[in-house]
């Protein structure tokens, strides 16, 4: 199954697939950032694949000079009972990824959470607010340069 998915993707989007690897049976395909929506639409609508659910969507701070952030899409096909992982690299200077809410509406809150925790913006997201942290919070806590103990006085006390 993994070979079929990879073959289909490479055949359809030869310029979008950057790399792929398989670890413990999980297939991960790295996609060019700006092509994620059309790849997602293809994966969802292809009759053989039908990746109709986005199980999880998350950010990873790799803390390296190039491609600092990763956004990982964990997809599931009910028909094939199969997981697939897509990945895009995001630069720190250009921290914006096309939103996939138009493809899978379940990505909505996951993208909000990723924005909240990493400061990665999602272009075209209908309601990009913080998910967990307070609205007035200035930082993105899951970035590696955010200290574990938090930043003192970053949450103001309530006014009288």
């Amino acid at each position: 199954m993994n070979e079929l998915i990879l073959e289909k993707l490479k055949q359809r989007f030869p310029e979008s697939v950057e790399s792929s690897n398989e670890f413990r049976g999980d297939l991960t395909v790295q996609i060019k950032k700006n092509h994620i929506v059309k790849v997602g639409e293809f994966l969802k609508n292809d009759p053989d694949l039908q990746f109709d659910m986005v199980i999880d969507l998350l950010g990873v701070d790799m803390y390296r000079p190039e491609g600092r952030f990763e956004v990982v899409y964990n997809l599931y096909s009910i028909k094939n009972k199969k997981f697939l992982r897509l990945k895009v690299l995001v630069e720190e200077e250009e921290c914006i990824v096309p939103s996939v809410v138009s493809v899978w509406s379940g990505a909505n809150w996951h993208e909000r959470e990723t924005f909240d925790m990493f400061g990665i913006k999602f272009a075209g997201h209908p309601d990009l607010r913080r998910m967990y942290m307070p609205e007035e919070y200035q930082y993105h806590p899951l970035r590696k340069d955010f200290p574990l103990m938090g930043i003192p006085d970053s949450l103001p006390l309530p006014r009288k």
Partner: protein, 418 residues
Amino acid sequence: MPTVVAEHPKKSQILAALEDVDTSFTDVDPLENTMVLNMGPQHPATHGVLRVLIKLDGETVLGSVPELGYLHRGYEKIAENATYHEFIPHTDRLDYLAPLSNNVGYVLAVEKLLGIEIPKRAEYIRVLISEMARVASHLVAVGSMAMDVGALTVLLWTFREREKLLDIYDVLCGARFTTSYTRIGGLLQDWTDTCTAMLTKFLDEFDQDMKEVQQLLFTNRIFIERCENVGYISRQQCIDMGMTGPILRASGVPRDLRRDNPYLVYNDLDFDVITAQESDALARFHVRFSEAMESAKILRQAMQKLPAGPICANETKKVLPRKDRVYTKMEELIHDFMLINMGIDPPVGEVYQGIESSKGEFGIYIVSDGTGQPWRLKIRSPSMVNLSALPVMIKGAMVSDIVAIIGSIDPVMGEADK
């Protein structure tokens, strides 16, 4: 007269979001005014600290915005700064109604990363504890949903039954709530004959007690009228929004990771995947109720098939040694010291492992950089994703239906907020 919104110097983002919500809902007899109602975070029917902002037209819900984060403790950040073993107690506090299945889900992900095979006995015991957790969690869900719509008796009965399961946890791992029972590559302690006896006794009484609950609720006119056709979400919307667990199955999609992507020894056990077609609050209630009965079936089989043997994998560099040996044997002392201080050295890579917990798909995604602490650990919490469908479900409902709908989603905020 100025509205409440205008009095604030800065309009809060959540209120602004509510104003953006599509409120195009037509009713045959709409009242003239719309009203903003704030429900929670301190509201008994929200099952914890869920806050929902609701726009009302009379008693009809026009739109709503749920707000999470009142119980956010930053477990993903903690995980990045703890060894793989140190994070096990934190998993108890995620879905605190079924801590044992979180323990299982987490260690399965770490074992997948490490490539450890655990002994058959440990796998069977893990099935036993996951199913016990499912029964306990569904008992709370059934009881509290009945309470939300006004039937208090059922809550008392189901909590009485759940108490017996908590007593088994107590014998098994010394704690009733914060179990931390699983270990990477095995388990804390062995399953004993006392546990078998207690569980057999529980299961014998369970059928009778569920029958009593059934008699009280299944033909109860008030209960049915409060739940039927309430909180409808279509099958396609369920799939699009990534619903899992009883909500997805109550809309007719037979997705159950225990059968579709089997882990542990679920392949060897005989059970049905319960589905319903109606996709309303009543259907979700029935799915949970029947699933608890199926779990009882699995528990009986697993106890019967429970093989003898070790409960920990024989991987001295990865699995914590037994405490009595740590105190008496040099080799084990060294391993214990290294594992506690340095952690395991996993391969570089990333894995995702999902299990079918009582709320839905509970998954752990680990990015490992080869050190003793995970570089990134993501918790895929079913409650959070299921709650994202709340605005769809309560649109057009009455105010009094909201509690029934939240009860039918069965969210646990410890898990939704992480």
